[in-house]
């Protein structure tokens, strides 16, 4: 038996195209940036770039990004959960369920620039809802200080694809809630509230938490919608990075790498936690 089995070599050769592609166009570019974050423009190793991330302007960018992502993730999770609950356990007709799931499939992909346009057309200064509120019930939306081109506006725009994503991911998890758990809890004397508090929510918690984290990572990395909606007025990290790539506004290319590294770390941690929580959920619901 030769040391290098011919068949094994052929086996590994078979996935070579994929591996080469992944390395060249996914892994190496990312690693390049990640390692570049630890070097100065003239090539010496340093932690200064990381340290420079902690300046007020950059920190505020991260902070705003985190706030928008958390807000839209929580909002999307809450409404998405109630929608998913309604179609799985709420006793609505089957056509409502399939209609909502189909629509969610479309809406979760409808992000980017057109989404910004849609919300501008609806809640902008001359948007339909703004106008209707003024004409029908005399309520001047903009006089309350509301502005679609703001943190709040971006959050509710993001929720347009966050809510459907939550519905799509959570519906199978709710389907997995065995009817017998509810019945067993009832016959042992528990009220509906006790059932949810002691049985259902604890069982669902990993899925809920995990999907919320997924929503968070999703919002954190998004740029197109923000760019089209709030432009550079809302200084979130992707916008800052965009400006940096375009024109080195930070006057230090390696700082741009550090910015990217920060993004990867945050989205990476969220996704790892999501995966861990999902594994936990699957183990319980077998």
């Amino acid at each position: 038996m030769s040391l290098i089995d011919r068949r094994t070599v052929v086996d590994w050769l078979g996935i070579a195209p994929f591996m080469i592609f992944a390395l060249m166009f996914l892994i190496v570019p990312t690693l390049y940036l990640v390692t570049g974050a630890f070097f100065t423009p003239d090539g010496s190793f340093t932690f200064k770039n990381i340290a420079d991330l902690f300046t007020p302007s950059i920190m505020s960018a991260y902070w705003i990004s985190i706030k928008v992502s958390v807000a839209s993730a929580l909002g999307g999770a809450l409404i998405g959960f109630f929608l998913a609950w309604a179609i799985v356990l709420g006793g609505v007709p089957a056509w409502v369920r399939s209609g909502l799931l189909t629509f969610s499939g479309v809406a979760s992909n409808f992000a980017g620039v057109p989404l910004a346009f849609a919300f501008l057309a609806t809640l902008g200064r001359t948007g339909l809802v703004t106008v209707l509120l003024r004409d029908w019930i005399g309520f001047n939306l903009y006089s309350t200080g509301f502005n679609i081109l703001s943190f709040f506006g971006l959050t509710i725009t993001y929720m347009f694809f966050q809510i459907p994503l939550m519905v799509l991911i959570l519906t199978p998890a709710l389907d997995g809630m065995k009817k017998e758990w509810r019945e067993a809890s009832e016959i042992l004397g528990a009220s509906t509230w006790q059932y949810w508090r002691m049985v259902a929510l604890p069982i669902l918690w990993p899925s809920l938490m995990g999907t919320t984290l997924l929503l968070f990572a999703n919002a954190f990395g998004a740029i197109a919608t923000a760019y089209a909606l709030t432009g550079s007025s809302l200084n979130i990290v992707p916008i800052l990075l965009y400006a940096q790539i375009r024109g080195d506004v930070l006057h230090n290319p390696n700082l741009g790498y550090a910015l990217a590294l920060g993004m990867i770390v945050i989205t990476g941690i969220s996704n790892i936690l999501y995966i861990l929580l999902r594994m936990r959920a699957e183990r319980w619901q077998k």
């Binding site: 758990w181 809890s185 016959i187 004397g189 604890p202």
Partner: protein
């Protein structure tokens, strides 16, 4: 003194009537099985007792109290499900304690009671385990303990053994029966397995298409089936087609044999067709056997099943199964052999539809 009474119970889902005029009185401490094929309505009746379904008509009362108005959570009934339904986020201890916690019992009392239940099912050492770490049989025992912990007045079991391996099924059903008689709790047990029902019940209700075909002790059900359905569902009774020979003498023809029956053929006349049933273990092929009746026929095949030797005999067009115990010196009948089966006339049962 009846403890659990079901009067005139009916249940329809839309146009389909699933349970028709079900009447039953169960004594305190009695172990009753509902036996029948899938779709016969037995689980529906159980769920109506539990309160998961509302009867379309009739009354259910426990200890004299009408249950119709009570919600499931107020009925103080224990239930064990086919799919165990243990709460996956809680360990064994917390699962068993659930009913007590929900009722707001003090911590010390809960702990004592749970420990008591765990030693009853002999799983004290697994109190910290989670359901996914237990086998099917262990999970079901925990489910039983969970149901019994709050001291319910009635225990309901919905095909609790169907999801388990054959060996566990046998040992667990005996354990369930033993715990039940120890605690003296009124129990309703739903199953489609007739051996299960026969071996552990005080009484059995055989259900067929929403109706109770027969209610009786295991012996009554097996030895004196009231209808053709009960006869064919419980045990492997031989159904023999015979024609009336002489109504006055209560004799019938089975092939070339003339047999006198103990029961009266009633209003039937000579030449009418009649179904009679014969248990496979009745009688003997031996020449020295006692018995006032006999059937002669030709052996079709003979099968060695381990503890039992089953012989198929053709008698006047009827295929009769005859079982005899295996013995070291047993001789298996050969195909084509002519044999005579000797038994008593009282072994025959006239089967009415």
């Amino acid at each position: 003194m009846s403890f659990l009474v079901l009067e005139n119970i009916k249940k329809s889902f839309g146009q389909t009537q699933v349970v028709k005029d079900f009447d039953m009185s169960i004594e305190k401490g009695e172990f009753v099985s509902f036996l029948g094929p899938s779709g016969c309505g037995k689980t529906t009746v159980l769920r109506m007792i539990a309160g998961f379904e509302t009867p379309s008509g009739g009354r259910i009362s426990i200890n004299g109290k009408d249950q119709n108005r009570l919600k499931t959570s107020q009925r103080n009934i224990g239930m064990v499900f086919q799919a165990y339904a243990l709460f996956p986020n809680m360990n064994v201890f917390d699962n068993v304690a659930f009913g007590l916690k929900v009722a707001g019992k003090p911590k010390a009392e809960i702990e004592a009671r749970v420990k008591e239940m765990l030693s009853l099912i002999r799983l004290d050492h697994l109190a910290d385990r989670y359901p996914y770490q237990l086998s099917g049989g262990q999970q079901q025992r925990v489910a039983l303990a969970r149901a019994l912990a709050p001291k319910p007045q009635v225990l309901l079991l919905d095909e609790p053994l169907s999801a388990l391996d054959a060996k566990i099924r046998v040992s667990l059903r005996e354990e369930i029966r033993q715990i039940q008689s120890q605690l003296g709790i009124t129990t309703v047990f739903v199953t489609h397995d007739q051996e299960e029902a026969l071996s552990i019940s005080d009484r059995i209700v055989v259900m067929n298409a929403g109706r109770a075909d027969q209610i009786g002790t295991p012996s009554e059900i097996y030895n004196h089936p009231a209808t053709r359905f009960v006869a064919s569902f419980v045990g492997t009774l031989n159904m023999i087609e015979a024609t009336v020979a002489d109504p006055a003498a209560n004799t019938v023809n089975v092939g070339d044999n003339v047999v006198r029956l103990r029961e009266s053929v009633g209003a039937l006349r000579a030449g009418d067709k009649l179904s009679i049933a014969l248990r496979p273990e009745a009688g003997s092929l031996s020449e020295n056997a006692k018995g006032d009746t006999s059937l002669t026929g030709k052996v079709v095949s003979s099968h060695f099943l381990g503890s039992v030797i089953r012989t198929k005999i053709d008698v006047g067009g009827n295929r009769i199964s005859f079982d005899m115990f295996n013995a070291p010196d047993a001789v298996m009948p050969q195909a084509g052999e002519t044999v005579t089966l000797r038994f008593n006339a009282s072994d025959f049962l006239i089967v009415r539809d």
